[in-house]
């Protein structure tokens, strides 16, 4: 069976140790985590966890079933028709061309978000593969630091 990339959303009770239950499940059963993001769902006592993972069909089925078995898990959404976004922050030396990078960020739904004495920071939020392209393109401006945020996804 072929390995494919998948994105899963997990709605969980917003309580301590729930994230360790999920990450521990992945570690203990040998499932991959590509990215994992978590934040509270507004106006509820739930949290929304988004996990990008990869594996074959059987592994993926096990992941969703094992997640379902965790007591604090309300819902597991296996994304199919989704809108998926990831954010990245890139710090550039002040010598780099502000205009170039402004244009580059603009091409990927972002912009310059902070400028200091010795550096400035660009931000982009886009599909994960496009974020990859952006990072690649930004390499020639000698970035000092790159921080990717992990994906969030929502079903259409």
């Amino acid at each position: 069976m072929e390995n494919v990339r998948r994105v899963i959303s997990v709605l969980v009770a917003n309580e301590s140790s729930v994230l360790s239950r999920i990450s521990g499940l992945f570690a203990g059963r040998g499932y991959n985590i590509e990215t994992l993001t978590v934040a509270p769902v507004p106006d509820s006592n739930l949290s929304h966890v988004t996990i990008a993972t990869n594996g074959n069909e059987r592994v993926f089925e096990q992941i969703t079933k094992q997640l379902h078995k965790l007591v604090p898990v309300y819902k597991v959404i296996e994304h199919e028709e989704m809108v998926e976004k990831e954010m990245v922050l890139v710090k550039f030396p002040i010598e780099a061309s502000l205009a170039d990078i402004q244009a580059l960020c603009g091409a990927y739904n972002g912009g310059i978000v902070n400028v200091g004495l010795n550096m400035f920071i660009g931000m982009v939020a886009d599909e994960p593969c496009r974020v990859g392209h952006f990072i690649e393109a930004s390499q020639r401006y000698n970035p000092i630091e790159i921080v990717r945020g992990g994906v969030v996804a929502i079903e259409r």
Partner: protein
Amino acid sequence: MKMNGAQMVCEALIAEGVKTVFGYPGGAIMNVYDEIYKQDGFEHILNRHEQASVHAADGYARATGEVGVAMVTSGPGFTNAVTGLATAYMDSIPLVVISGQVPLSLIGTDGFQEIDAVGISRPCTKHNYLVRELSELPRILKEAFHIARTGRPGPVLVDIPKDITAEFGDFVYPKEVNIDSYKPTIKGNRRQIEKAVDAIIKAKKPLLYIGGGVVLANASDLVRKIADMSQIPAVETLMARGVMGHSNPLLQGMLGMHGNYSSNMAMSETDLIIALGARFDDRVTGKLSEFAKYADIIHVDIDPANIGKLVDVDYPIVGDVKEVLEKMIEGLEGKVNPARYADWREVLERYDNLHPQSYVDSDEVLKPQWVIERIGQLVGEQAIITSDVGQHQMWAAQHYPFDRPRQWINSGGLGTMGFGFPAALGAKKAFPNKTVINITGDGSILMNVQELVTAAEYRIPVINVILNNHFLGMVRQWQTFFYDGRYSETDLTFQPNFKALAEACHGIGYDVTTKAEFDAALKDAIEKDRVAFINVQVARFEDVLPMVPAAGALYNMMLPKKVESKKEAK
């Protein structure tokens, strides 16, 4: 009513109908023990090691089907209990284990006897709780029992900081549980059941593959009924011994690594597996790519994650095996034709006649298989048999004439040496009028031997039959077969005087080397009604056969030497 957290724990246990708690006190759980001292709603048994407490609660649960309860302190008390939790987790045994924890203010400071119990036990419990506020304690205790016993059962840990057991608050024990995120599927999908019934009617060589889930669901009567009405042959896993009853002609025996010939051949040639509460464990399937190559699979399991985990399933049915069987039986009534499977039954009978479960007895030395058969002849149906892990466990599973579910108690999934003796204590507490015998080895028995003291103090007269071959026998067997006889660290020639050891702990001991001595010892032990060690010297190099070498195909068995023996119990 106002009370402290410790009293709430006791009141909750009483409300849950708990009769016996197995445990061991210590600093962080002392408040609860103070309340245990004052109450008379349940009995507390002081084991001599926390691991034994959890195994004893586990044995109690397996024998009765009720939730077993153990109580330990923080830190080492809890870590000692982990093997017990993992054992229960792997075999889906309902337990509630209550552990003390350092006070809330000390959590995270590496306090004395502090350990992250919830973190450590996460992978070996069905669920666990760290109680952070007294107000949530009653709800958490109620939920713990509910989660332990419903769905696929399992152990639940409740970790309670010491200041919470000291604090006073209002106690109202909830009547009902409502956990939105926890709703096990009980009823099987009707359409799927109909399809499965159709498949059974159309099959030529169907096979009932019975697992421990049938025991847990108390569905043995229904399994016997479906077998009886359809005359479909059956195989049992290690965890399902007793479901069909050994004298049932449809029962082929146990399958898997140490399964008998006709069982493993049945699995290899069947065209329809009817898997009931079984999970296609690697010790059952052997090499997966060669496993049941000609079969469609109906898989009934309460845990959806078990379905399709290792083998592709044609008729997945998530639900309580009891409920599903009721529907299946309804569907089969009047439609299933037992004569249709007559040829198939005949094939299997031929296989069984070709290589029946057998061993070569001896007049010079006691054979372990003989000892087990003999126990069966002497106490049979009325005994509960527990075991440790190793050769003796497999011989017991192969040769004891089990008649009913919950008669056979062993650690199947985790394979925990040291399980049998404390589990026997739990079973005996639940059924004081039954003879409880732990079939063990000279290796395993030493792994919870301190329980002699517990058994003697509380007058829990379980009999330990030590099949003594002066070896860690199962490992030795593998060393013989696969490591050119290099017996690395498996020779147990240096060992205690088991008879004297039992006597030193106020029990009774027997040294046995002949059949007559064994008979006399077992009868005497039953009569004396005291905790006993029967130390039986058995053939040193006896192997457990048949055997499917690990990762081999189920149909490639190493078979015992052929003998002209009578057919044995399956």
